[in-house]
Symmetry: C2
Subunit: 207 residues, 2 copies
DNA sequence: CCACTTGCTGACCGACCAGTCATCAATTAA
DNA sequence: TTAATTGATGACTGGTCGGTCAGCAAGTGG
């Protein structure tokens, strides 16, 4: 009967703690979140958290890694495995992901990286190597394929795949900062950007 | 002779303090900067700072206002007073400002707004009304002029003047987060974006 | 049922910091 | 020269928080 005051669950704790931390950090930011709040949210004491993570910074890194990693995998694979032409892929699956990001909880991670990144160089380096670099690399391959097949004309897009991503970045920042005061239809905005880009870059419109 | 231990300089203090705060906040962020560090940098005591600013947040707001206001004025006037056609303005003065921002100290203000904005709704509201809204408004007028004169064809750019700004946003964030690990030629990137946009939107290339 | 291991707790410590205030000294007016 | 004013100081307070650790109790093996 007497419910035990706690239960040993060594295996699940780390994931529970990073999940709790993700939520807490997203709501209040890194500095402003006491470690104890994370522990409380995970239904656990502060001391326990320090059994699984050496420092608060350590926890932060684990949050980023665990949240971001699977999403990147999926995206890169989607780009490399697609059977679609470039235009169809951009207007289809790419647009879908691009439109979802500014709404998703992940946008708060972007805030954290911008806000705290410069204090954690090894974290941003990891982020560069595992997220940005791989994502841009996949986009670059997609574009190269389009140029090789004659679907796209050669252009600066080959050098700057960021051209595809910049409206997503702006949308994320807009949602984080301006949204309470001024709405932006990020869906329409991002789609308009892709359309304009394609209209400048499609080699030939077939009738 | 004996140099006095301090001098009364009521008039200059606020500007000196906001300047010192701008630098300190840019280097370390808002939360991580003790008020005393700002005072020390301005060569005064902490107590004095509290004679001119009621709270630390108050100081923060003053920093943003004093730093941003004059620059917005200049930009909006440049757009509204130009004699140039849209394409020439975008490839000329606009490009110049757009390329400078990611390098300038102002990029750190962007970080502060992203990092701390959600905790200071009245500040972001002020920023919307005095910076973003006015800047986008001026761009919108520029575009409308171009469409009216037949230089540009009608397009989503009229609805989303943000299309012109998004690569600047991405460049700023890149400089803040990724620059130590991976260089981006933000000049070339932003110019490429403007070129692509114009090549999609110029009504007719005259020979 | 007992002894042993170990996941877990929560009180505690030291450091830091926003904001206050009693006091001082540069300046100004009398 | 002196008195009144006020710009400026810096020690202090109350509170917060990251990180520690001595001990407790849930599980485990005999």
């Amino acid at each position: 009967m007497a419910a035990p005051r706690f239960r040993r669950r060594k295996a699940d704790r780390p994931a529970e703690l990073t999940a709790a931390a993700m939520n807490e950090f997203a709501e209040n930011g890194y500095d402003a979140t006491p470690v104890e709040a994370v522990a409380r949210r995970a239904g656990v004491s502060k001391g326990l958290l320090y059994l699984y993570f050496k420092t608060k910074e350590d926890l932060f890194k684990a949050v980023v890694r665990s949240f971001v990693m699977p999403r990147v995998e999926r995206l890169v694979r989607a780009i490399d495995d697609t059977e679609l032409g470039v235009a169809d892929f951009l207007r289809g699956p790419f647009l879908e992901v691009a439109r979802e990001l500014p709404r998703s909880k992940a946008r708060h991670l972007v805030r954290l990286l911008i806000a705290e990144g410069h204090k954690h160089p090894d974290l941003t380096r990891w982020y560069w190597e595992n997220v940005v670099s791989r994502g841009l690399g996949a986009l670059r391959r997609l574009i190269a394929r389009g140029v090789a097949s004659g679907e796209l004309r050669p252009s600066a897009l080959e050098r700057y795949p960021q051209l595809l991503v910049s409206p997503v970045m702006l949308s994320v920042v807009w949602m984080l900062v301006m949204q309470p005061h001024a709405k932006l239809d990020t869906d329409g905005f991002i789609e308009a950007h892709v359309d304009l880009l394609l209209s400048a870059l499609l080699a030939e419109e077939s009738p």
